[in-house]
């Protein structure tokens, strides 16, 4: 199943063209996306470092959950809105970007990691609320830190055209980016 026809249709809509060609809106959306990193990833990093027992060891995990998680959620919503708008402005090139694809895969992995954490080890938080989190929790924190770092790097790399379909590419890249004969 290819989403290319959908992306091509999206690229032809007037909103997508307007955003893509706008002098200020696109840079503003882009800047919002980048600066919201401070809120979302910044708070996530604090959360993960707390799970590793490195910072704020005196703050209970349930307190982190009540007080920091809402901030992460707000950050995530803002990042998602600006991220969707960025994709909307440049759908076809993004869809055929190996960096964008890597980013989406890592986003899904980060989501699964967080979901698994909450479904399993976090259920027993009462027993380690103020102490050192169990090994599974620390493993989830390391996975989260690595994934978000990867997501940031892959996201930044989307801007570069090294692996674009309109340049000569190795077969693996052509396959991974889903390039077609027309580009």
């Amino acid at each position: 199943m290819s989403l290319l026809p959908f992306c091509e249709w999206l690229a032809g809509t007037s909103g997508s063209i307007a955003l893509h060609e706008s002098l200020y809106m696109y840079p503003l959306v882009e800047s919002s996306h980048v600066l919201t990193l401070c809120l979302f990833v910044g708070m996530s990093v604090i959360w993960d470092l707390r799970l590793l027992g490195i910072v704020l060891p005196n703050v209970a995990m349930s307190d982190m959950s009540r007080r920091i998680w809402p901030l992460m959620l707000i950050g995530f919503i803002l990042m998602s809105i600006s991220g969707v708008l960025l994709f909307y402005a440049i759908p076809v090139r993004s869809y055929q970007s190996i960096w964008f694809r890597a980013k989406v895969i890592m986003l899904v992995a980060a989501g699964l990691n967080a979901w698994t954490f909450h479904r399993t080890v976090y259920r027993t938080v009462d027993t380690w609320d103020t102490g050192r989190p169990p090994r599974r929790a620390r493993r989830a924190a390391i996975a989260s830190l690595a994934l978000w770092a990867g997501i940031i790097v892959a996201g930044r790399m989307i801007a570069y055209n090294w692996f674009d379909c309109d340049l000569p590419q190795r077969p693996f890249i052509t396959w991974a980016a889903g390039c077609t004969e027309k580009g």
């Binding site: 980048v34 809120l39 910044g42 990093v45 604090i46 790097v153």
Partner: protein
């Protein structure tokens, strides 16, 4: 020697040329710059938002500030080192860029403010937060926001 000559000499230097001519260097340095930005943002926001009553409000401000200061400082050092790398590769463009000068000005102000006034105030603040402390938090966030926004805008201009 005029300022522009200095910037031209920087751009002609070996390190500068090496970064510019490498297909990957700028992108890699930029990515590290962004990773450090996230950490710096988290460390600053945790304390400033707490002062304004958002986040870990049950904890004393000095505890949060003390716990996160080394992370903030590490991130700031990484940001400055990678920032110098980015600047070296396009010094002349920076010379003509208004956002670059806005960023350098607010960066100096924000750094001095953070390590003098803000540090002094947060170290003295427990769970009770006064108006001066709130003002310090607002100024801190406004300054760092301007640094970040102007920084992003260097890439859009010129």
């Amino acid at each position: 020697m005029a300022a522009l000559d200095v910037f031209q000499a920087i751009e002609a230097s070996g390190v500068s040329t090496a970064i510019r001519e490498s297909p990957w260097a700028f992108a890699v340095i930029e990515s590290i710059h962004l990773l450090a930005l996230s950490l710096m943002g988290g460390a600053v926001l945790l304390v400033d938002l707490r002062i304004l009553g958002i986040g870990l409000t049950a904890r004393p401000v000095r505890e949060l500030a003390g716990e996160t200061e080394r992370w903030m400082t590490t991130a700031l050092v990484v940001l400055i080192v990678t920032g110098i790398g980015l600047f070296l590769s396009e010094a002349v463009k920076c010379f003509y860029s208004t956002p670059f000068w806005v960023k350098m000005t607010t960066l100096s102000l924000a750094t001095i403010f953070t390590y003098t006034l803000r540090r002094g105030v947060v170290r003295k603040t427990g769970t009770d937060v006064g108006t001066t402390t709130r003002l310090v938090a607002v100024v801190s966030m406004a300054l760092w926001f301007t640094v970040g926004a102007a920084g992003r805008w260097i890439g859009f201009s010129g």
